[in-house]
Structures are given as structure tokens and as C-alpha cells.
Symmetry: C3
């Protein structure tokens, strides 16, 4: 029978792959079947270590759960003909992010520091890195890395070749995120700036969101706008998302996951400040959604759910850097401004011919920068930096002087320069070598059939748009 | 270019808004750039405080995640033409609830008590309320407040003006929930009734669910039924929900979130009773789903998923008040009765001309009252009230005497009277002033286009019903 | 009025049911209104107990949340005409699992051991089982039980009578899972094998996944393939899932829930090894997805999302048994092999005329066995079995000798024999008595209307396939 033959053939080839794996494996075992490790067992007699582990792990699980949030928002805001493509990308960036960050990213970001620029050990978490503390920290940084990678997807949606997606995911996870992460969180030069307390970014407005947003901007520029985004006169056209229920679910999931992202960044449950962080996150998200909704209502007399959803995300991104250092009312102000900033940024990019299908650049890029800035303004001097002994952070409005603001401004310039330039280089090089945009026919047909061989909704009658 | 102009105009106006915010901000800073606070830093040396914070926060995150649960159930059970409307409402009630409860609700509910009626300080969480304990408690009560507000949405779906939705959300979050919450949870008069141990409501069958349900009843009555709900002879017609997968997902999410709602209400991880509460929650949900499914199968010979889903919710609502004070088998009995009660209530409301599109009044209103009652019957005298020193709660079936039952009956009357009357007043006043129902044309077309300017599923061919 | 009459009639009958419940209740109360219990109150002064409870409970909540994950994957991978059916089943197996396991399952699985074969007390969790520790353990085992039950659904989808679904759910929850669970986790004979440290299965590759998978295989064989699965020449045809976005969401939810499933299986937060387990889970899932995607790309030149999604699940199932006992790099190898194995198994079953609509047998059955085996190969001797005093587990590649591998092979044989035979018997007996397959007309029409009286998507124009 023909099928049997196919199975046989597949089995044989899979066998080949397995053989290679086994060889690698034997190689590894040959190196040493004893584990040279620090403390991989991790048995503790104290509740203190246990509660910190539980806190960080559960928060990390919540951050991981932001992955479907991003996937649903992105798929919901794009067209039915590209849903399989967007979903495959969303899963693959987490897969590639996890493997790459485990293999090399963590070593670069958190390994032993080399002149403030890069980390240089911890590859594959072998040897002394086979340790429960190291694995915990690696897991935490890994879910953040994957968040940075997936943000890009929205800006390059509906026209990027899948192959290019896989490649830039590797670049983000192996280079762009770990290196910048080292600078600001791994003991690198940005954290040691001689202004204020050095550049500060509590949970990653810059290191995750602005970074992802500006890589996305580079991608959107190299790709150019989708067919139909601009009419003959260059006027931007709305391309409505195919499933608003899905997009709204995605935003709710992201909001939920953000309670891991921000409060979890204390990396300790012994800082009861986590309660303030949770409240600040809630208030900024609410304020961001409110201001974006009201502005769009004021312009169009419609209650625009797209702006509402992106406004919520804008507020969340905006508060991420300062969430631990400000009071509730300040979070509302930060959120209101973030929602408005997102609105202006969306209109601005539209008018400049940059097509960002889900608004990722405005939400994560622009509001990420605003988040970095806000630390230098609103920090109220009641909490330190990741450590209970650290000096408390104070911004301009609380008499902290301009030093902190200056450090924040420098980190803004650096994150934009670093992520945009390496991102641009990556997309441009790929474009030169194999062309990163799908053919016009494929784009019109949608990417699902040509790239993935299957439509997302085969039982439904759809309008191809 | 025209777009540039628009952007310019928007920027200018946004600038205006930002200026106002800045003025407010400067005002705030002028008042004092030092923080007069209790303990906003929250550094602890003990694992005991840390674990209680982690428990309460993570449970609060789960309660927050019930928001998309309600959104999916409501959207799934209504028609495709109103999905954008329902989603926008679901997000806005959380936004409005969060901001309002932070600004004024918490002060009314948990501020210093004034004659058992109302709390009178804690506005904006300023001054001594800038404290980690206070922020934690505020966050907990905030997510409950938002739950009460969102319950109403189901009962008024598919015909309420969006503006009216925004206004009643403010009323629920600023007045109806905080005042009643003060009475039963904030040291107010209901908790000090001289019968039994005073009115008891462990996790809010009354204070959240019945309250939301009866506000919804008021709304449904003021609005009147949807077009097509009754035929010429006044016979109720089924209006099937547009997406059963979405509704089922919503119920699963709610069930998941309820593990925060009920066990988290110990407000302490040191009460290992949380294990019993989790089990009781599971059993009652299961029993509620089972009895509703079996009753509907017995009547129609069909396995009705709508009744199954609402039966699960009925069981969850029913066990919420007593979840900490009863044994596993009693939870099954409470759930079975809740499922049946929901079924009867749905048929009863249908027959009385009250159109509750998703069954919110039956699920949350009727079963919420049953939950309050059940405490006076099944409490088995093995656990106290929120405190390990408190006397244990004992109901009629365990020899506790009629005192507790009487207290529960009083709280039933009060929650119905309070929430229905203020709810009715709110909807009626709005109706007088600007008319809360959309025009017949808008209702037939669906609210998505006229109110929000966009359909939920633009790529799919739909049947307008 | 006719409706009033109906309501009256329903009320009367519901009254009858309630009377029966009340009688049962009075019977229970008559037996004793005092609670003969161990420690149902569970007041602790130590943070140590509190943190372990919080850890286990939250992980159990995550495992419960896998239920909608399975529901979404299954519904997404099947056709629009059977969505209501699949959702109803998914909810009912959790309901039946919960009630059955509480009533009898836990006693069989974890009650006092009788000759290594079965537990014999703890029915209804009465008497000394009304204890916080017992309730906690019951809740943990209950969510695992429901997982085993729901795995079967995918293999028998789109053609099984709903009645048969309810019955086999009872059999799985009352007999198949609890008995095998007793053998391996309840102190039964498999855990006491005289080879290695006895059969080991950290989080249930065998006791949950392989068990569910092979019951599913039995069901798929008894039922036979769906219409249209094979053409006239017996060549297997693809029947595409109706909603890939839903299926992808389901896989993300499952991945998230698995962070409860695996790390939570320490049953203690004092084992900081939980960090390693979380990382291993992530890496194996990633590797499984990657290998399945690459193999299918190599065969078809398409990026097949179906294979990617099932590859992720294959990796998760594969690592479940060994997750606590291996290093990061080994998890990648285990995951790569699991993804490839799933691919081969899917093609093999297809070629043998066994129709498993969502790939449940390949994902859970085949990879579950691989998981059991991998413990005997890769365990690296750095961690014990559920207890900090236990000897550390060592596999063949780390010099542990063949004993452990032998114990694992025995457990592989036993889980296949036990679950397949009892599963086959159950389906076959039901088939003899009332016929478990729906009529050809119902199958072609889809099960939603004939079994449940409602379509899943009434507002959309669908293509009946």
C-alpha cells in the first residue's frame, strides 16, 4: 500500500535524525556522566526561599501566558486570510526564543560581565549554571525575551515571508534582547551611568517593549505598506481586523499576564510593594484605555474599540518602567498620557506611509519610551531598586533633581539606536539575500494557503479582502 | 497634505488635554512633594507576610481574569451584530470600576466607619492610605467591584445605549457596591446584626452576585424585551447565541477565576481551609451544571449546552457565600439546588416578559440569594469568619439554631431592596433624561455599526438576525 | 397562559427532585450532625505549611485550566457542525470526573492500601477524611483525573453518542484512572517494583497521558473511522479543523496549564527544583514543536500548523514523566524525539485505518510511553522522588544501571494493557447494548442539532462538510 511505503520512508528518515541526536547525546555523555553543578537539587528548609520561588515562577507563568494574548490581538486585528500565518509565527517565536535564550542568550545577558558590554559564560546552562537559582533567573529572563520577540510580529504582519520571521526571531533572542538586557539589567554600562541611580527600567518599558517596538518599526519600513493600505492619493485606509472578539480576548489576557510582568519584577515576595505595583498597573491600563477611547470619540463620535484596546496596552506599556516607584494617582496620569501618545503616534505613522497593522510601534515603541521618561519625573522616593537596601528612586517632581531624568533620556536614545539599527540591518540583509516580502499574488490571496497549506476557517464562507 | 493637518489638529488638542493634566499634577505636587504615608515601601523580613500577600494577589489576578470570562459568555450568548458593543462594555466597566473605586469607592467601603452606614476617608488612597496593606485590600475589593458591575451587562445586552452603560458603571462602582460592601464587609450594620454571628457572606454571593443580578433585573425591566423575543401571542422565543465555543470558553475562564474568588477570600494563606474551599467550589459548580443539564434533558430530550453552562455558573454563585463553612457533600447539594433554581428562574422571567439575554438575573440574582440562605442551613461549625480566633459558623442542620438563618434572611431582603431600588432609580432617571434604549433601527441593525463604527467579523458572511 | 403552566409544571417536578435531595440530606444529618473529622479547620501558625498549600493549590488551578485548553484544541481541530457536541463533552467530563472522583475515586486511589492493588476507604471524604491535607491531595488528584478523561474525547470525536460519552467518563474517573493511579502513586505494586526505585512517573506521562491515549485508541477502534476519512481506495484524507485560531489558543492554554501540571507535582514549594522543572517543560515543548514542524516542512514544503501544535503537546507529554530528574539539554532531546514520534505515529495510525480526529492517541499515548522510558535513560542523579530524603533517580546514561529502565518498561506494558483493555471492554459493551455510534444521517448533519438542538454558529453562513 502506498501509505505504508510513505510511513516506511518517513520512519527511515526520522530514524536518521534520531541517530544524529543520539550521537550528539553520546558525545555529551562521553564528556561526563557526572553533573558538575552548583545546586541543581534545591532543597530548602526555609519558607523564605520557597515563597520567593513560588512568587517568581507563578509570575513567570503569567508572563508566558501573554504569548497567546499577543497572538489573539494580532490575529484578531488582521484579516482571516492570514490567521494561520500569524498563529504559526506567534508559537514559533516563543519556541525559538526559548531554545535560543537557553542555548546562548542567557550567557550573553546574565553571564559574568565583560567590561560592561556583554556576559561571557553560562552557555547551555551547563556546569555551575546547573543550579536552581540560575534556572529560575533564566526562566524569568526567557519569558521576557519571548515577549520582546513577539511584539515585532504585529508590525510586520500580513506580508513577511515565514522564513524571514524565523531568522529575525533568532537574532532578537540571541543578540538584540540579551545584549541590551545586559546593559540595563545584567550589570552593564547603562545601569552604571553616573547620573541619578543609573538608567532604571523596573519591568521593561525599554528593555522589552520599546526594544520590540523599534525592531518592528525597522521591519515595517523595510517591508513597506500592505496592498490597499493607501489609496491612489496616498491617503491611509482602514483595514479592519477580522475578529474583534478575539482581539478583545487577547487584550484581556495581556492585562492578566501583566500582573506577572510588573509585580513579579521585584523577584522577591518579601517586598510587599508588590501590592502597590499591582494597583498601579491596573490604574494605568484603565487610564490609557479611557483617554484613547475619549479622544477617538471626540474625533469620530464613535466608541472605537480598536483605540480602546490599544489604549489599554499603551497604559500598560507606559507604567511598566515606573510601576514600582510611583503612587496610584501618578499611574493614572502616566496612563492617560500613554493612551493619548499612542493615538497621536498611530495617526502620525499612518500619515508617514508606515504601515503597522496592529499598532505595535505606537503601543510598545512610543509608550515604552514614555515609560522610561516617566521614571525620572514621577518616582516618589518610597522604594528602591530590586533590593531592600538600595537607595530609593526619586524623580524631578519629588525633588530628585535632573540626574535621574538625564539617565532615563540616555537610555531612551540608546534603546532606539540599538534596536532600530540592528533590526534594520537584519531585515535589510535578509531582503538583499532572499527578499523578505511575499509575492503580490500571495499577499492578495493571504499567506495561509501558500505558506502553510491550510486556511484558518475552512467551514465558513468568507469574503476575501 | 490632509492627513498631516489632521495629525496637527489632533496633536494640538491632545496637547490641550495634557496641559490640563499637567496643571492638576502641579497642583498635586504643590500640595506636597513629600509623601505623607503609612508604609508604602513594604519591606518585610518574614515569610508570613510575604506568603499572605502572594496568596491574596494571585487570587486577585484570577478574579480580574473573570472579566474576559464574563465578556466571552455574554458575547457568545448574544448575536454577531452586537459583539463589538458587548466587548467594549466589558472592558469599560473594568476601567470605570477601577478608576472610580480607587478614587472614591474604597473610601466609602473600607474607610473609617461612620455609624455603621458608610466609610469616610481614604479618597484617592492618599496620605496614610498610601500603605501596602491598604493597597492590597483596595486591589482585592476593586476586582470584586468590577465583577458586580460586569454582571449587569448580560441583562441589558443588545439594546442599551453605550452612554447609559458608562453612567450606570460609575453608579455601581461609586455607590451601590461600596455602600452595601461597607454594610457587610466593612464593619457596617449588617455584619453586626444581633442574630447568629451577624449576616455572613464569605466571598460575595450577596455582596457581588445578587447585587449585580438585581441591578440587572432593574435594567431589564426599564429597557423592556428585545425585538423578536416575544411573538404576537406573547410567547417567548429563543434568540440563539452566535458563538457557543466562545461562551463555553467564557464559562471555563470564569470557573478558573472562581478559584481566586472563593479561596482567596480567606485573605490569608495561613488558613489551610483554602483546600476545602477549592474542593467545595469545584463540587458545587459540577453539581449545578449536572442538575441544569439533566432537567433540560428531561424536558426537551436534548443535551442543552446553554443550560449546562448557566448551571455551572449557578452552582458557583450558589456556593460562594458558604464555601468556607460547609463540607464537600453539602456543596454538592447546594450546587444541585442552584442549578435547578436557575432553570426555574429562567423560565419564570421568560414567562413574565422580562428579557435577560444571557440569564444574568437567574444565575447571579436568584442563586446569589440561595447562597446567602444556605449559610444558615449547612454551615457545619468547623471554621470561623475571616479570622482564626473568630467563633465557628453553625447552621440549622448542625444544631446552630435559627439565629444565623434569620441574619441571612435579613441580608437577602436588604441586598434585593438596595440594589434593585438604586438600580431602578438610576436606569429610570437616565431614561427620562436621554432615553437609554437605542432606536428600533439601530437595534435591528445591531449596535456595532451605529455605536462603534465597526462590525466584529468583517471578513465573514453573516446572516443578520 | 401556556408559559405559566409550563413553569408551574416544571416547578412541581423540580420540587419533587428537591424533596428527594432533602430526604437524602435529612438522612445524612440524622446520621450525625457532629462532624467526625481530622482537621477540617486547618489553622496554621507556620509559613511553611501555608506556602506548600499555596503552591499546590495554584498549580492545581492551572491544571484545571487545561480543561478549556483541551476543549479549544479539540473543537478547533474538528468541524463547525460538531462544536456544541465537543464543548458539552469537555465540560461534562470535568463535571463527572469531579463528582465521581470525590465520591469514590479518591478512596480507590489514595485510601488505605489493600495488598498493593486498591485503596479501601475515604468514600465521600467523610469522617477522618474531612481534613485539610486530605482535601488538598484529593483536589490535586481530581484535576489530574479529569485530564485523563478529557484526553479520550479527541480520539472519539464527531461520531460518538453523547450518552456513551457520559458513561465512559464515569468508568475512567471511578475505575481506570484511580486503580492505575493507586498502583503508581498510591503506594501500590508498580511503585514497589524491585527494580531501580520502582516504576517512576513524576507528573503523569503514563498515569494520565498514556492512560487517556490508549483508552482513546480503544474508542477509536470500536467506533471506526468517520465518513470521508478514507476514500474508495482506502487512502486517508485530511479533514481540516474548522478554527485554527481556537486550536492555537487551546495549545497555548495547555502549555500554560502544564506549568501547574509538572512543577506542581513536587507537592511542595520547599523543593526549589521547581525552577528546573519549569525550564525543562518549556524546552521540551519548544523542541517538540520544532521537530514536528521541521519534519512536516521537509515532507511537504509547507509550515504545517497542525503538526506544530501537536508537536508542542508531544514535547509536553514526553517530558512529563522525567521533568524533575533531567537537565535542560536532555529535555531538548526528549522533546525533539517526542515531536518526531508523534509525527510517525499519526502517519502510522492513518495508514492502519484508525481515525483519531485530533491526534490524541499519538500525542498522549505514544509520547506518554516515550516519557516513561526516558526516565530510565536521562535521569541524572540530582533529585529524589517527591521527598527530600528519597534516593536520587539515575538513568542508564548517567551510570544508573538497567534496573530503572526495566521498571519503566514494565510500567509501559502495564499502562497499555490496563487502559486499552478496560477501555476496549467499556466501549464494546456499550456498543453491544445500545450502539455507541450516531446514525449516518446524524454524523453527516453533525451532532450539534440532533444531540443538542442548537448549532454553534447560527449567525454565520457555513459550508456543511
Amino acid at each position: 500500500m502506498d501509505t505504508s511505503k510513505t510511513v516506511l520512508k518517513i520512519t527511515r528518515r526520522v530514524g536518521l535524525v534520531l541517530c544524529i541526536i543520539c550521537l550528539l547525546l553520546i558525545g555529551r555523555v562521553a564528556i561526563g556522566n557526572t553533573v558538575l553543578a552548583n545546586d541543581p537539587t534545591g532543597i530548602t528548609e526555609t519558607a523564605d526561599a520557597a515563597i520567593d520561588y513560588v512568587w517568581v515562577l507563578i509570575c513567570a507563568f503569567l508572563v508566558m501566558f501573554m504569548q497567546p494574548g499577543f497572538a489573539m490581538v494580532g490575529a484578531g486585528f488582521t484579516r482571516a486570510k492570514n490567521v494561520v500565518n500569524f498563529m504559526t509565527e506567534s508559537i514559533m517565536d516563543f519556541i525559538i526564543g526559548s531554545l535560543t535564550f537557553f542555548l546562548v542568550g542567557y550567557a550573553i545577558m546574565m553571564g559574568t560581565d565583560w567590561h560592561g558590554i556583554i556576559g561571557i559564560d553560562g552557555w547551555l546552562m551547563l556546569g555551575k549554571y546547573y543550579d536552581v537559582d540560575q534556572y529560575l533567573m533564566m526562566f524569568w529572563m526567557l519569558v521576557f525575551c519571548a515577549t520582546a520577540a513577539t511584539i515585532v510580529a504585529g508590525a510586520v504582519a500580513e506580508r513577511l515571508k515565514f522564513k524571514a520571521y524565523l531568522i529575525y526571531s533568532i537574532v532578537v533572542s540571541a543578540i538584540i534582547y540579551p545584549v541590551f538586557g545586559h546593559w540595563v539589567w545584567g550589570g552593564g554600562w547603562l545601569s552604571n551611568l553616573p547620573y541619578g541611580l543609573g538608567a532604571l527600567d523596573f519591568a521593561g518599558s525599554g528593555a522589552v517593549h520599546a526594544l520590540g517596538g523599534f525592531i518592528g518599526l525597522a521591519g515595517a519600513i523595510v517591508l513597506g505598506p500592505r496592498f490597499g493600505k493607501y489609496d491612489k492619493n496616498g491617503k491611509p485606509q482602514a483595514i479592519p481586523g477580522h475578529n474583534i472578539a478575539l482581539a478583545a480576548l487577547g487584550v484581556f489576557i495581556l492585562w492578566f499576564g501583566w500582573y506577572g510582568f510588573n509585580p513579579g519584577s521585584t523577584l522577591s515576595a518579601h517586598h510587599l510593594r508588590i501590592a502597590v505595583i499591582a494597583v498601579n498597573t491596573t490604574l494605568a491600563a484603565s487610564a490609557g484605555g479611557l483617554s484613547a477611547l475619549l479622544i477617538s470619540w471626540w474625533k469620530t463620535q464613535k466608541w472605537d474599540i480598536g483605540m480602546l484596546l490599544n489604549g489599554v496596552l499603551a497604559g500598560l506599556v507606559g507604567i511598566t518602567a515606573a510601576c514600582a516607584w510611583v503612587e496610584g494617582w501618578a499611574s493614572i496620569v502616566i496612563g492617560l498620557i500613554a493612551g493619548a501618545l499612542m493615538y497621536v503616534s498611530v495617526k502620525f505613522l499612518d500619515s508617514k506611509g508606515i504601515d503597522d497593522p496592529v499598532g505595535a510601534v505606537s503601543v510598545h515603541g512610543a509608550c515604552g519610551l514614555w515609560g522610561l521618561l516617566s521614571v525620572g519625573l514621577f518616582a516618589d522616593g518610597t522604594y528602591g531598586i530590586y533590593s531592600i537596601e538600595a537607595p530609593y528612586v526619586t524623580g524631578l517632581f519629588y525633588g530628585g533633581g535632573p540626574g535621574q531624568l538625564l539617565a532615563q533620556l540616555i537610555s531612551i536614545l540608546v534603546v532606539v539606536a540599538w534596536s532600530f539599527s540592528i533590526g534594520f540591518l537584519t531585515f535589510k540583509m535578509m531582503d538583499r539575500i532572499f527578499g523578505i516580502r511575499v509575492s503580490p499574488e500571495e499577499e492578495l490571496q493571504g499567506l495561509d494557503i501558500p505558506e502553510h497549506g491550510t486556511p484558518a476557517y475552512p467551514d465558513f464562507l468568507t469574503m476575501l479582502k
